[in-house]
């Protein structure tokens, strides 16, 4: 091969010329073509790809919305209404972007749930997991900033409440908040800078997603059994097996997305956000969007202002430490019967936290949110560290191929199953 050129195997001459100078074709063929992927993926493994698709849809719709949106307090609300009424397909752009945010959180929460259930955060995937938590934080920030932009009542008051949280920081808190606002309250400078940051952050997400997938391709994917592939009989090339499976998943995802966008576009939203922002009138029930409700419930569960802020942050930060909190050598909860039940309880608990986050801060909801918050943390900080030592896991299968194809086929893995190790005929 000539010096300075990549040794490309691509057959098409034009593509080969490109590939020799920047091996993108080779890279795609390796990372998304022949990449050995465990053969026993279930549909929970679709959600990473769905998240990536969702991100692309959000960026595309967002860029076109930004061509017509005006980030000024006097004009923002009306510019959104203009998009809805006068911009060709503006209504579609807006509804896709708005419901796309909800879809993003549905997808990402299921993606994370998969990681929790199957132990995908355990060695050697700890860094992969932590990059994922970073993406979650960036996503939450992006969503929060985006929700402020239409400048409705919920936009304004949500921004007021959340930025006010920083005033809980001792000594410097109130000063920080003033600089954050760029004014003495949430006002025009705040809206303008939120727009700038909302446009920026998705591209930061793209960067961390790249690192996330790169890290994944070093360790390889986990799988529902939680045991590492031992050889080619345990894996399948990503294309065509998982390109086609992902296509099925994408169709279902688009169907749910379309159901929301075309039949219930405002179902997940709050009617008060169709009232223009009024700094003198606080809505009776300030609630964030549904995807923030569990963390909102944690915030309000603590009677102390700083304590609530700290605990709400801790609810996400605790995820960073999961690889070390869970002491079990067994990855998948399929083989950990007690922890599995407790995790399913934790899942139900998460739904309860979501529900209680929308309720007013009165009894009995305050008590419920406190109990649920306790259980949320106890699972990570007490149950997982102890279970690794106390629980006796079920025996793990020998290999993926054995578990998926059966003993005979696993040995041969050839086109004629059972051709090897033929048993002698039973006497009549």
């Amino acid at each position: 091969m000539a010096l300075g050129l990549h040794d490309s195997q691509v057959s098409n001459p034009v593509l080969r010329w490109v590939d020799q100078r920047l091996p993108v074709v080779t890279m795609i063929q390796k990372e998304y073509g022949s990449f050995p992927t465990p053969r026993n993926f279930n549909y929970f493994w679709n959600f990473g790809a769905l998240a990536m698709i969702n991100l692309m849809i959000m960026i595309a719709t967002g860029i076109f919305l930004a061509m017509n949106y005006v980030p000024h307090t006097a004009l923002a609300f009306d510019s959104v209404e203009r998009i809805m009424r006068d911009v060709h397909f503006g209504w579609l752009l807006r509804y896709v972007h708005m419901n796309g945010a909800s879809m993003f959180f549905i997808v990402i929460y299921i993606h994370i749930w998969r990681g929790l259930y199957y132990g995908s955060y355990k060695a050697p995937r700890e860094l992969l997991w932590m990059l994922g938590v970073v993406i979650l934080l960036l996503l939450m920030a992006t969503a929060f900033l985006g929700y402020v932009l239409p400048w409705g009542q919920m936009s304004f008051w949500g921004a007021t409440v959340i930025t006010n949280l920083f005033s809980a920081i001792p000594f410097v808190g109130p000063t920080i908040v003033t600089y954050l606002w760029g004014a003495f309250s949430v006002d025009n400078p705040t809206l303008n800078r939120f727009f700038s940051l909302h446009y920026l952050m998705p591209f930061m997400i793209v960067g961390v997603v790249f690192l996330h997938v790169a890290a994944l391709h070093i360790t390889g994917s986990n799988n529902p059994l939680g045991i590492e592939p031992k050889g080619p009989q345990d894996t399948l090339p990503f294309h065509p097996y998982y390109t086609i499976k992902d296509s099925v998943g994408i169709v279902v995802y688009l169907a749910v997305f379309a159901g929301l966008v075309f039949f219930a576009p405002n179902y997940l939203g709050h009617a008060d956000n169709y009232i223009p922002a009024n700094p003198l009138v606080t809505p009776t029930h300030i609630v964030p969007e549904w995807y923030f409700l569990p963390f909102y419930a944690v915030l309000r569960a603590v009677p102390d202002k700083l304590g609530g802020v700290v605990l709400m942050g801790a609810a996400i930060i605790v995820l960073f430490f999961l690889p070390w909190l869970d002491t079990s050598k067994v990855r998948s909860l399929r083989f950990r019967p007690i922890t599995r039940v407790l995790f399913l309880l934790w899942t139900i608990n998460f739904f309860v936290l979501t529900w209680v986050g929308a309720k007013p801060a009165e009894q009995p909801y305050v008590l419920i949110s406190q109990i649920c918050t306790m259980f949320y943390f106890v699972y990570f900080l007490v149950v997982l560290p102890l279970m690794g030592r106390l629980e006796r896991p079920m025996p793990l299968p020998e290999s993926i191929a054995r578990a998926v194809l059966g003993a005979k086929a696993a040995l041969g893995a050839g086109p004629i199953p059972g051709a090897v190790a033929a048993k002698p005929m039973e006497k009549a």
């Binding site: 930025t163 309250s185 300030i286 009677p303 102390d304 202002k305």
Partner: protein, 131 residues
Amino acid sequence: MASTEVDISPIAVGQAVTVMWRGKPVFVRHRTAEEITAARATPLGELKDPATDQSRVTRDPWLIVVGVCTHLGCVPLGQKSTDTRGDYSGWFCPCHGSHYDTSARIRKGPAPTNLPVPEYTFLTDSSVRIG
């Protein structure tokens, strides 16, 4: 920086008015004698953020405070005659249930401090400049 001038002559006894100052609502209340007595009679030991009523007013019967709850920033209710005033006859924040008394001091609920008193001067008997 920004100041707001308020004409307080039309505010009757027991009535309150909300003005905007630096983007935030400011409550100007014309307190009744009972409200002032109740505020003065409160023992300081009962207060989460102890402050005498006298330290929070410049000229009776006027109470001027920034109408932003010190918990997470909602606007407390109590300005309109139809509003609830909470358990201490002052203001009530509907977001998380903070109760303020007739001197706008926090009495119950998650708010950590009293409603702040902005800088203000009486230009005449019937007009105040806030800020």
